[in-house]
């Protein structure tokens, strides 16, 4: 082993980095951006899940529990009428509501504490915050009902999901779309760059092909592949992983297809800003990771710090993920206005990217 030769390799590598400013920026800027975002997401969140309380109890204990809930750090509470609860779960203004029934005090004195807990149900993490807050309130209550053992029997009802609904069901619905989006994006950006680096794009440009024809041809070609992949992912998720699905399979497939088309066009568009496959791969942490963090896949957008919520609301992936969850978890169909919005935004994003890809195609040849 020659130290001289090893040094030559090391030096060659560092010399290359010196001229590749973009890679240097990625190495030193991207980790700060990603970790900073993650830190802000997890610690900067000020909003806790919104929970409604309907105290219908004729006795004194209901008010005590309601008060304990209001002071819980796990949730933010609003007083509601029990009859409005379901409507407010559906419109998303509450993630749960707790009804303390008319005979609550009476039954508590008899040793049974039975609040009704109505969960929206599609976000497992949020459910546990609600139940945790309720449990703490029950501890306060137990200290008041002296001299007798109290049995805590909450009546849990879920609008969506169900008792078997687990973390995989929640994440799976989003990941079915995300896996397709991510892989199709990577394949498209690398292939389109190949077209540049192997010189064939120059040939295409010297032919009567129009820019729009190139972009459209690419989009259709990759979409065919992406649709086959989307079908495979969907079948595996439903048949093998048994991810819960309340919606129409064709609708899921349609949403996946929209995400694939968006990914193809994002790949074509971003390939205009990279000169090599190496640079293209660098777009993954910069473009894809923040989208994954902010699109509500892991942290619900409603619990993000306010500033990040604005950012999340302009990311197309947020709508795609929301749409997938609406279909698979809540059984949404095209009559739901939320799904119309989600599908519309993703489709609009596709159109925007097709136009952007076409407009920037010639620029980088000259």
């Amino acid at each position: 082993m020659s130290g001289h030769r090893v040094r030559a390799i090391t030096r060659r590598l560092l010399q290359g980095f010196r001229r590749d400013r973009r890679t240097l920026a990625l190495l030193f800027v991207a980790p700060i951006v990603i970790l900073g975002l993650l830190g802000y997401l997890m610690r900067g969140s000020t909003s806790s899940p919104a929970v409604g309380i309907a105290n219908e109890d004729a006795g004194p204990l209901g008010a005590m529990v309601a008060d304990a809930l209001r002071h819980s750090s796990h949730i933010t509470t609003t007083d509601i009428n029990g009859s409005d609860g379901d409507a407010r779960l559906k419109d998303g203004s509450l993630v749960a509501y707790i009804v303390l029934p008319a005979d609550f005090s009476q039954r508590a004195q008899g040793g049974t504490v039975a609040p009704e807990v109505h969960l929206e149900g599609s976000q497992p993490g949020v459910d546990s915050s609600v139940l945790q807050a309720l449990q703490q309130a029950m501890i306060t209550l137990a200290s008041q009902v002296v001299g007798r053992s109290v049995s805590f029997q909450p009546q849990i009802k879920r609008l969506h999901g169900g008792p078997n609904y687990d973390t995989l069901d929640y994440f799976g619905a989003a990941f079915v779309g995300l896996v397709v989006f991510f892989l199709v994006f990577v394949i498209t950006i690398v292939s389109f760059l190949n077209e540049r680096s192997q010189g064939t794009l120059e040939r295409l440009m010297a032919s009567p092909l129009r820019r729009g024809e190139i972009v459209l041809g690419y989009m259709l070609g990759f979409t065919v592949i992406a649709l086959v992949q989307a079908a495979e992912v969907l079948i595996f998720s439903l048949a093998v992983l048994k991810i819960q699905n309340q919606g129409n399979v064709l609708l899921i497939f349609g949403m996946e297809a929209l995400m694939a088309i968006a990914a193809v066009n994002l790949g074509i568009f971003l390939s205009m800003f990279a000169r090599s496959e190496f640079q293209a791969v660098q777009f993954i942490p910069l473009v894809v990771v923040p989208q994954i963090l902010l699109s509500g896949i892991i942290f619900p957008v409603s619990t993000e710090p306010k500033a990040l919520q604005y950012l999340s609301n302009i990311l197309p992936l947020t709508y795609a993920v929301n749409g997938m969850r609406d279909i698979m978890v809540k059984g949404a169909d095209l009559t739901w206005s939320s799904l119309q919005l989600d599908a519309g935004v993703v489709a609009g994003f596709c159109v925007l990217l097709i136009a952007a890809g076409t407009a920037t195609l010639r620029r980088r040849l000259g």
């Binding site: 192997q198 010189g199 010297a206 032919s207 009567p208 092909l209």
Partner: protein, 238 residues
């Protein structure tokens, strides 16, 4: 502008940042002519060819091809362009590559003839990634002429091709020119220059001299084309 010229380049300049690739170049090529663009590496040959097929826009001057001001997409159907690097799809077969370029140029058929011309018909099923450099170059040529263009732009087409095949290439070029195809070939190989009807010597982005090989010899004062070129280049430099 004169319609009898297939290519008419007038006072064209093109810079890339501070680097002046072409500086006031005038060039006229008649229909059916084989025109050789000669010059060392970096002289501006490829830039000039890219301007002629509309891949680049000139900062000054005009480029007229087949009677139309460039860039013009409609004219591109009548142009065949072979890039310096054999620009092909490595995962496709020889025939699939040629068929693709025929299709995007709006030609039906002609694939078999093009493959026979470059002597790749027997290898039409071979995947391009498995071919030698010379074979790729031949396949690239087939892609450039499959749609029977009126103007063929060949950027160093014979690099990596054995002498025997080179002779056949030139025979084909001559036949095509006789049939009315205009051919512009860039090269830095002097023995190729002798096969052209007219030559343009280009260096530092300027056209130093123009004429038949005999004219160039006379201008350079040497019976040897290479020496004549060096003499002309040196004269302009000093």
């Amino acid at each position: 502008m004169n319609d009898s010229y297939a290519v008419d380049v007038e006072g064209v300049s093109k810079s890339f940042g501070a680097y002046k690739a072409l500086n006031g170049v005038n060039l006229r090529v008649r229909q059916g002519e084989i025109y050789g663009l000669l010059g060392p590496n970096g002289a501006g040959k490829t830039t000039l060819i890219r301007l002629v097929c509309g891949l680049l826009a000139a900062q000054a001057g005009t480029v007229t091809v087949l009677g139309q001001r460039m860039p013009n997409v409609a004219v591109l159907r009548h142009i065949g362009y072979m890039t310096q690097q054999a620009a092909l799809y490595p995962a496709l077969s020889v025939e699939e590559n040629v068929t693709f370029f025929a299709a995007i140029n709006g030609a039906d058929g002609g694939v078999k003839e093009a493959l026979e011309l470059v002597q790749l018909y027997d290898r039409r099923g071979s995947v391009v990634a498995t071919l030698s450099g010379g074979m790729r170059q031949r396949c690239s040529l087939a892609c450039a002429l499959v749609h029977r263009p009126e103007l063929l732009l060949l950027d160093e087409p014979t690099v990596g091709i054995d002498p025997q095949l080179r002779v056949q290439f030139w025979e084909s070029f001559r036949q095509m020119a006789a049939g009315g195809t205009t051919i512009i070939i860039s090269s830095h190989v002097m023995d190729e220059a002798d096969r052209c009807q007219r030559l343009g010597l280009i260096q530092y982005g300027r056209l130093l001299a123009e004429g038949s090989p005999a004219d160039i010899r006379a201008q350079g004062g040497s019976p040897n084309l290479e020496e004549a070129f060096l003499a002309l280049a040196g004269r302009k430099e000093s």
